[in-house]
C-alpha cells in the first residue's frame, strides 16, 4: 500500500501547555472582542427573531439589485433589505414590518405587502396551477399572463412569535450547556465540569461574535448550529479529558502540567484527524450544498475550528488554572477485577524460572492459591513503553494455561 500520512510523529511531545498563558489570554481577548461586537454592532437577526417578511425570488432574466430595491421601495412599505442570492437572477428581499399598534394591524400590513409584491412581480405558476389558471381565464373570458418570477420562498414571522422563538432558542442553548456540564460532572471531577462549561461558553460566545463581526444572518438554524458546535466541542474536550484522567491515574506522582501534556499529545493526532474529516465534509456542504443553509454551514465550520482550539488550548489549561493536581487521583493501574488480579500477580511473584513464573495470589473468592504462568518475551526488541500492556500480556497467557 501507499505510505500512510502521519499528521504527527508517532511519539509527539510538544509542550502544548507551555503556551497556556498566551492561549488563555488570546481566548479571553477573543471572548471580549465577541462581546464588544455583539453589544456595539449587534447581530444581523433574521426574520425568525426579528419578525418580518422574506421573499426569495428567481427572475427569468438577469436583474440588478438596485433596480429591485428601488421598485420594492416604491411600493411604499419602507425600504426592504435586498441582496443577491446565489446567481444574478436570484434575489432575497426582506421587509421589516413596522411595529404596529396591534397584531391585527401587523397581519394586515403583511397581507398588503404580499399582494403588492405579487402584483409587481406576477408569480410564475407551476404546471398544475397553470392548467387551472388557464382554464379559469378561458372560461371566465379574462386575459391571462403567466408571470416571470418564481417565488422560491416566502416567509413571514410575526413579532410576537419571533420573540417567543428567540426566548426558546436562548433557553435551549443555556439548558444544553448546563446539561452537558452536569453529565461531565457526573462522569469526571468537578474541575473538569467547570472547565468544560467555560470552554463551551467560550465557543458559543465566539460564534456569536463571528456572526456579529461578519453580520451573517442569525436565525433559527444558527441556534441549531450553535448547539451542534457545543456538542462537537464537548466531544473533543471529553476525549482529551478522558485521556487526562487515565494518565493522571497512571502518573499521579508527576506534575499536573506534564501529565496533561502527555494526554494532549496522545490525543493530538485523533483530535486533528477528526477535525479535518469533519471540516472536509462541511467544506463539501459549503461548496455544493443548498444556498439556504450556507450561513448555517459557516457557523458549523467555525465551530469545528474553535471547538478543537478550545479543547487543546482553553479547556485543558483551565484544569491547570483551577489547580487540579494529579495527586488527587488514586494510583490506579487497572480498572477492573481481571486487571486487579494481574496487578496482584505482578506484585506477588514468588519465583521466576527460565520461562516460568510462580506467584501466590488471592482470587475473587478470597482464597489464596499458587499460580504458574509461562513467560513469553516480545519477539522484537523494541522498547516496552507501557507497563500496563506488559501486565496484560502476562494475564492473557495465564488465562490460557
Amino acid at each position: 500500500m501507499f505510505p500512510l500520512i502521519r499528521l504527527f510523529p508517532s511519539n509527539s511531545n510538544i509542550n502544548l501547555l507551555g503556551f497556556r498563558r498566551i492561549t488563555l489570554i488570546a481566548s479571553v481577548l477573543l471572548v471580549a472582542v465577541s462581546l464588544g461586537m455583539f453589544f456595539s454592532r449587534g447581530l444581523n437577526l433574521g426574520i425568525d427573531f426579528k419578525g418580518g417578511l422574506l421573499f426569495d425570488l428567481r427572475f427569468s432574466e438577469t436583474v440588478t439589485i438596485d433596480d429591485i430595491k428601488a421598485e420594492l421601495s416604491d411600493l411604499g412599505y419602507g425600504t426592504p433589505e435586498v441582496q443577491a442570492f446565489g446567481s444574478d437572477r436570484d434575489v432575497k428581499a426582506v421587509f421589516a414590518i413596522p411595529s404596529a399598534s396591534s397584531e391585527d394591524e401587523e397581519i394586515a400590513i403583511v397581507r398588503d405587502i404580499k399582494s403588492a409584491v405579487r402584483e409587481l412581480y406576477p408569480p410564475l405558476l407551476d404546471s398544475d396551477d397553470l392548467e387551472l389558471a388557464e382554464q379559469a381565464a378561458t372560461e371566465g373570458g379574462y386575459a391571462f399572463v403567466n408571470g416571470a418570477v418564481e417565488y422560491r420562498r416566502v416567509e413571514n414571522v410575526g413579532s410576537k412569535i419571533s420573540g417567543e422563538l428567540a426566548q426558546k432558542g436562548a433557553l435551549a442553548t443555556a439548558l444544553a450547556l448546563l446539561a452537558i456540564a452536569a453529565y461531565i460532572w457526573f462522569r469526571f471531577e468537578w474541575q473538569f465540569a467547570i472547565a468544560a462549561l467555560l470552554a463551551l461558553t467560550h465557543d458559543v460566545l465566539t460564534t456569536i461574535g463571528l456572526f456579529a463581526i461578519f453580520q451573517f444572518t442569525f436565525d433559527l438554524p444558527t441556534v441549531a448550529a450553535i448547539l451542534t458546535i457545543a456538542g462537537y466541542s464537548i466531544n473533543d474536550t471529553v476525549v482529551v479529558f478522558d485521556r487526562a484522567r487515565e494518565e493522571m491515574r497512571r502518573y499521579n506522582e508527576r506534575p499536573v502540567i506534564e501529565v496533561l501534556n502527555i494526554a494532549l499529545n496522545r490525543t493530538l493526532s485523533r483530535t486533528l484527524m477528526t477535525s479535518l474529516t469533519t471540516l472536509l465534509a462541511l467544506l463539501a456542504l459549503f461548496l455544493f450544498g443548498p444556498l439556504v443553509i450556507r450561513d448555517f454551514t459557516i457557523a458549523l465550520m467555525w465551530g469545528v475550528v474553535i471547538g478543537t482550539y478550545s479543547s487543546l488550548f482553553f479547556a485543558t489549561p483551565m484544569l491547570v488554572v483551577m489547580g487540579l493536581s494529579a495527586r488527587a487521583f488514586d494510583k490506579k493501574i487497572v480498572d477492573d477485577d481481571e486487571d486487579d488480579y494481574a496487578a496482584q500477580l505482578a506484585a506477588s511473584v514468588t519465583q521466576v524460572d527460565d520461562d516460568e513464573i510462580r506467584a501466590r495470589v488471592r482470587g475473587k473468592d478470597g482464597v489464596e492459591r499458587t499460580v504458574e504462568a509461562e513467560m513469553i518475551l516480545p519477539e522484537d526488541d523494541g522498547p516496552i513503553v507501557s507497563s500496563r500492556t506488559k501486565r496484560k500480556k502476562k494475564k492473557r497467557n495465564l488465562g490460557r494455561k
Binding site: 500520512i5 455544493f288 523494541g382 500492556t389
Partner: protein
Amino acid sequence: MSYTRWWQPVVVVFVVLAGMYFAAPNLFPRATYDDTNTAQNYVPAPFLPFQVNLGLDLQGGSYRLVRVDLEDARASYMQDIQRIGSNALRDQGIALRATASDTNVRFQFRDETAMLGAREILRGQFPNGNFTDEGAVLTVGIDDEAFEVVKSETVQSVRDTIERRIDAFGLTEPSIRIQGQDRILIEVPGVSNIDEYLQKLELTIHIVSRANATRNPNETLFMLLPDAERMLQPGQEPISYLIEREACVDGADIQGTGVSSEYGVAVTFTLNNRGTKDFASCTRNNVGERLAIVLDGEVISAPNVNEAITTGAVQISGGFAFEEARNLSTLLGTGSLAAEVESIEERVVGPGLGAESINKGAIACLVAMALVLVFMAFAYGLFGLMATVALVVNLVMLLGLLSLFGATLTLPGIAGIVLTVGMAVDANVLVFERIREEARAGLDPGDSVASGYGAAFSTILDANLTTVIAAVLLAAFGTGPIQGFAITLTMGILTSMFTALLLTRLLINLWLDGFKPSKLPI
C-alpha cells in the same frame, strides 16, 4: 485461535441487512395520490411501504401558524344561542323577541308562563347556560368555566373546518395540529398559497332596510355594511347598505353548492328544509325589496326580490371569475370557520427550491464521502478503507432508520447527515489511534486491535452521549426543520456507533483471521 466470535458476523449481518431492507423502499418512486386521495404506493412486496418523509422545505409547501381569534367567541356564541334558541322555541309555537349582546341573550316572552316553558326548552339546548329570569324576560349568559369549554370547542371546530376544506380540494397529507390554547399549526405539502382555506366565509342573507342609510341606524336592529370591491366598476364609489341585523338565512343552512355559468358565472347553493322555509317566508314578506348576500362582513350581491322563492335554490352572481366561483362554492360547502384566524407565522417553499435542495444536498453528501474516504485511506490505509465501508453502511442504515420511524428529512437534516459523514469516522479514528499506540507498545496485531477497541470504548460513549444531550434539547425546543436536524443527528450517532464499533471490528477481525498478519498496516 480465531479473533472473530461466532456472534459477531451474525449480529452485524442481521442488523445491516435489516437496515438495507428498511432503506430499500426509498429506491422506488415516491407515493402519489389519486383523485380520491388514496395513496398509490410503488413499493413492491416484500418491502414495507415506508419511505423517508420529506419536510416542507424539501418538497415545497406551506407552513402556517395561525391564531384563532377568541375575543369574539363569547359574542358569537351568544348569537348562536339567539339563533338556535329562537328557532327551537318558534318550532314549539312560542312567540318571542330575542336580542343578543356580547355577554348575554335577552328573550322577551308574552307572559311568565310562556317564559317558564321556554326556559325548560332552552335549558335542554344549552346545559352550560346561565339562566336568570324576571317576569316575562329570560336572560341567558354563560359563566367563565363553561366559556373555557366553548373556547376549546371553537378552536377544535376551526381546525376541523380547515381540514375539511383542504381535503375538499384533494390536497395531499395536510398536517393540522392545535398548539397551546388558541393556535393551530397547518402544514400543507406542495401548495404555495393556503390563504383561501383560512377565510371565515360566513355567508348570510339579510333584508336591505328601506330606511335611509345616512340616518343614524338603530344598531341593535340594523347594521351598515360595505359592498365587496369586486362588485365595483372602475371609477365607481363604494356604497354601503343598511341591512337588518337578523339574518333570513344563515350559512349553517347551506347544503349543496355548485357553480353555474349560464348567465355569467354564479355560485349556486340549495338550502336545507329549515333554510328553505325561512328563505321562503323572508322573500314572501319582502317582495319588491332588496336582499343583501353578505360574506365576511361585505355585501357581495344585492338582488331584488321579484317573487317568493320557495325552492330553496339560491344563486349569487357577484362578478366572479370562474375559478374564484368554483373555489368559493367548494369552500362554502365545507361550512364557515367558527372564528376568525390570523396568520402569525408563515413559511412557503416553492417546489423548485425544494427539489434543488435535495439535489445539492445529495451531491454535497457524495463529495463529503469521497473526500473523507480518500483522507481516511491515506491516513490509516486498509483500516481507513474499512472505516469508509462502515461509513457507507452507516448512511444506508440511517436512511433505513429514518424510513422505519417515519422521521421527516429536512434541509438542516441533510446538513446533519453530511455532518454525520464527517463525525462518524471519529469513533474509528479514536480506535485506530489506540491500536497504533498499542502496536507501538509491542502488542501483536490481534491484541492491539482488541486492546484498542477496549480502551477507546468509554471515550466514544462519553463523547457521543454529550452530543446526544445537545441533540435531544434541540429536538425538544426546536420547530419543524430544526427538529428534523436533531432527529437525523441523533439517529446518525446511533448508527455510526454501531458501524464504527461492531462493523469495522468484524471486518478487522475477519482480516486478521484470514491473513494472519505479523504486523498491522497502520
